[in-house]
């Protein structure tokens, strides 16, 4: 469990009511990753959703595109909340990184008990999917 005040600083959770953030904080776990460590693999079974606490993570998409995630509070692993629950990218730490990890089982349990929270998080996930769509789609540049 982490402090709700820590999660409230995340841009991903902006506009989410304090009560919801508190519930999310109760299921969050702080996980440390070393430089070069892989947080999750593309096409791997997506079980966890992450919010970056500190560090720098490179999202490598199978088409060769990549996105650097280094702003605290940015989200990683939305695939854990969307069927077919397979990560669409590989997340590799460029520096030692710390994340808030949410098990999708725990999140779905929360969603079952609180439809409002489910709706708000789903809307956030939807906007994240749209935001990262250009990275998943399109041709592979230069092979």
């Amino acid at each position: 469990m982490v402090e709700a005040s820590e999660l409230q600083q995340s841009p991903f959770l902006a506009d989410i009511p304090d009560g919801d953030v508190q519930r999310l904080a109760e299921v969050a776990v702080v996980v440390h990753f070393r430089e070069g460590e892989i947080i999750f693999q593309a096409n791997g079974l997506a079980k966890n959703f992450f919010l970056l606490k500190s560090g720098s993570v490179l999202l490598c998409f199978p088409n060769g595109r990549s996105l650097v995630v280094r702003r605290p509070g940015q989200a990683l692993g939305w695939s854990s909340l969307v069927s077919p629950f397979h990560y669409t990218a590989t997340a590799v730490c460029l520096t030692d990184s710390v994340t808030y990890q949410f098990s999708n089982t725990e999140l779905f349990s929360l969603f079952r008990m609180d439809a409002g929270l489910a709706t708000r998080i789903t809307a956030k996930i939807e906007s994240l999917i749209q935001e990262r769509k250009p990275y998943r789609m399109g041709q592979t540049s230069q092979g």
Binding site: E35, C60, G64, T95, P134, G138, S141
Partner: protein, 170 residues
């Protein structure tokens, strides 16, 4: 003279033993060579890397070279392009990355470059790639090429000892 007697008379046993010894000796030598091949290649790679480092250091200290992109004798203050000072190790890795991306072309995939850097044993490739991105030496392409990267044009990279006073990272 039939059978074994004929073999003995023609030194057949000796020839057989000699043949066996020669073949097994060769096999043993070959096996020993293959067993040590990895170490030999490791030392060869280290030697080549050491030579490359030496050459780079010589070119770095003797002339500005392609890195600094300035004409010899030109005062450093004259250049209006932003100058980024790098430490010796960072500069070395920067040059490694430039070489790796040259194989990919002007536009490159960070993931592929990172993979190659790891395979070639570049020290701390993840950290240094992050450093190059943070310093603005590598930039993401806009539009349809989003997610692919290139070296930011118009930036001068120099050894921190040679950089003009006050030059700071972007």
């Amino acid at each position: 003279m039939p059978g074994l007697s004929a073999i003995a008379a023609a030194n057949g046993w000796f020839i057989t033993a000699a043949g066996l010894i020669i073949v097994f000796t060769c096999l043993a030598v070959l096996a020993a060579f293959i067993a040590r091949l990895e170490k030999m290649l490791f030392f060869w790679d280290r030697w080549v890397a050491w030579l490359q480092r030496l050459k780079r250091r010589e070119s770095l200290y003797s002339a500005p070279g392609p890195l600094a992109q300035e004409s010899p004798g030109q005062p450093l203050e004259v250049s209006s392009a932003p100058t980024i000072p790098l430490s010796g190790e960072s500069l070395e890795v920067y040059q490694y990355f430039q070489w790796l991306t040259r194989l990919e072309g002007d536009v490159f995939s960070l993931c592929r470059v990172l993979e190659k850097a790891e395979k070639r044993g570049i020290p701390r490739p993840h950290f240094h790639l992050d450093e190059l991105l943070r310093l603005g030496l590598i930039e993401e392409l806009p539009g349809e090429d989003r997610g692919f990267y290139r070296w930011t044009p118009g930036i001068i990279v120099q050894h921190e000892e040679k950089a003009p006073h006050g030059a700071e990272p972007l």
